[in-house]
Symmetry: C2
Subunit: 374 residues, 2 copies
């Protein structure tokens, strides 16, 4: 009986797969589950195995509720009255794998989805949703030794403020009290802040898993706020100048970290990388301040040309990456030119992702094993 | 000229004060400023020097927008169309000093205020607003040495999960690598989580300031999630059982902390305290597991009777507190009975506060100097 039942199940499964293949994207599988980023106990938003997202908002007297996620260029997903009086809607197509910011527009007002947790992006705390990625294992929370993420408040004379950084210390950091570690300074993108790399980026879990798998030697990661010529919130990147942040990072934060953590405090053991605007900052600061970093990483954050690098003897790695839906050719071409000029340049393209966090999680996962090895 | 101008100014000021005194609470001073808990760059919500709060929500097509804060029992503050098309409103009276959770109801749907930062309370991320307290200096962010707040992921076999705790390590923890510290286990209230004591409680800043002022000897604080018989979100405290959490705390987290931080790992150097439901947990666990803690603190979280304490020889302090708008007599009476029975019992009443975080910030500030001193 058991064997027969199993055979019928397999046959049904094969039929189901065939049906799905014939129907193409028009068939939305009804296997929706709560997004893993939902607030505790919240059923919605949900995602299905194809990457569709379904939203539910309770606002009985609202005339118009729209979710900012959906198909590109079509203005997101409009919710409609459901049988229970709530407003519901499903994206017109599957979303890219990974993390997406979104918000809800209720009768013209922008709010967050009460079902989802919030993540700082677009210069505000936005709702977040996660479409499970086929390779999500590398950033999953597992039963392995975990490092800590420490909130550090450090004094900044140049900005006359107490500033915040998060410092990832690897598992074992506390136990072996004589060991010293290299440091990666890792920057967020425009409109994000120092919480981004551990919250939406899962940098600590990526590191924990790499270390548990014996794929990297442990190092420290430092993440701080890079939009220090704040708060020109309307002006975007146009008026961004790196000088203020460069002083905070190089002249204030690095000495603070070296004084308060067990670091290998020299250029050979110091890396800088950043995503998007953080890549622009990495580009500028590594060029403006030769002698500080020896590993450079631009994640969806531009490229270097061989001619502009003025610290050639001390540059041990140049890592350039982006999503395949961004401009992969630019990244590949730039890395080739750098290699041609004698640099240890590596390019990485994240398949089927755009200017979003799965690109950067994967990029960190590729970058980490290349750091502090030569 | 300058002197004359100054005299006129003082005269005007005196007149203004006289007017205000005559008008009483009906005069709302127009000195509103953005709440210090606003999201970066956000002007609203605002608070004035009297403790009134003013809200502004942009939702052009909304018919009804209400803020949950206002005068008790009157259903909060209803916003009305302003000249610029936004919806605005001011509380009918001043709010208590300190931190308040709130939310916005837009056409029947519950959302957060896009202007405010979010804090986990009521089993959801809520908006937060801060009415500056006359004694806010003790929890202010100052240019003093700062301890770190470390996010720790620890394994819990009993709940088959990787659980999260936050650990405050005092300034200097990293530098003197042989020094060991006592530990306070500090619990949040119902509907809150392990982020509450550092986010809305400012426990780390209270400690930093006490240490900088030479008022306490440094100790470690550990904060973890106490609602482990989750997720009965509708059932409130009714069905709460402490057993699951007690196992996580005593048999899993304490050994993890003692193995991974430089603690004085004995009863004499271990305290437990909690607010509201966290006080109930403290009460139960200290009684169920004698031999683990020697300092007990209930912050708006009930009382002990002398008869129920079964570890008399090892109890070094019983601290009971609440706000003056709660049941201060119960706290005072219980402390007196404990003293009478020979315990080192201390009661503290926070003036003009209710079951809210200013009560608990002040309680921690009073409790800390009494810990680990005898």
């Amino acid at each position: 009986m058991k064997t027969k039942f199993a055979i019928i199940c397999v046959a049904n499964l094969l039929m189901a797969i065939t049906c799905l293949a014939q129907a193409g994207t028009a068939t939305v599988l009804e296997d929706f589950r709560p997004s893993v980023l939902n607030q505790p106990g919240q059923e919605y938003p949900k995602v299905n195995s194809q990457g569709y997202a379904r939203f539910r908002i309770v606002a009985p007297a609202a005339d118009s509720v729209k979710v900012s996620l959906g198909l590109g260029g079509r203005g997101g997903t409009r919710l409609a009255k459901a049988a229970d009086g709530s407003l519901m809607g499903t994206t017109e197509g599957p979303l890219d794998e990974g993390f997406h910011y979104y918000h809800v527009t209720v009768d013209g007002g922008v709010f967050n989805d009460p079902g989802a947790q919030n993540y700082y992006g677009s210069v505000r705390w936005e709702s977040g949703i996660e479409i499970p990625a086929h390779d999500q294992d590398f950033y999953a929370l597992k039963n392995v030794p975990h490092g800590n993420v420490q909130q550090v408040l450090f004094p900044s004379q140049s900005t006359n403020a107490i500033r915040r950084a998060f410092v990832y210390t690897p598992p074992g950091y506390e136990k072996d009290r004589s060991k010293k570690y290299p440091v990666l300074y890792l920057q967020h993108g425009w409109g994000e802040d120092e919480t981004a790399w551990s919250n939406q980026g899962r940098a600590n879990l990526i590191m924990d898993n790499l270390i548990a798998g014996g794929k990297i030697k442990p190092f420290i990661i430092v993440m701080t706020y890079g939009m220090t010529n704040e708060l020109k919130f309307g002006s975007g990147l146009r008026n961004f100048k790196v000088d203020t942040f460069q002083t905070v990072l190089v002249d204030e934060l690095i000495p603070y970290v070296d004084a308060n953590f067990r670091t290998l405090a020299d250029q050979a053991h110091r890396a800088m990388a950043g995503l998007s605007m953080g890549g622009m900052e990495t580009h500028s600061i590594t060029l403006n301040r030769p002698g500080v970093f020896s590993y450079y990483g631009l994640l969806s954050g531009g490229t270097y040309t061989p001619a502009e690098i003025n610290d050639k003897a001390n540059v041990k790695l140049i890592f350039l990456s982006c999503g395949s839906k961004e401009r992969p050719d630019g990244v590949r071409t730039a890395a080739a030119a750098l290699k041609e000029a004698g640099y240890n340049a590596v390019s990485y393209i994240s398949e089927n992702t755009a200017h979003e966090f799965l690109t950067w999680r994967r990029s960190l996962h590729e970058l980490a094993p290349l750091l502090f090895v030569n």
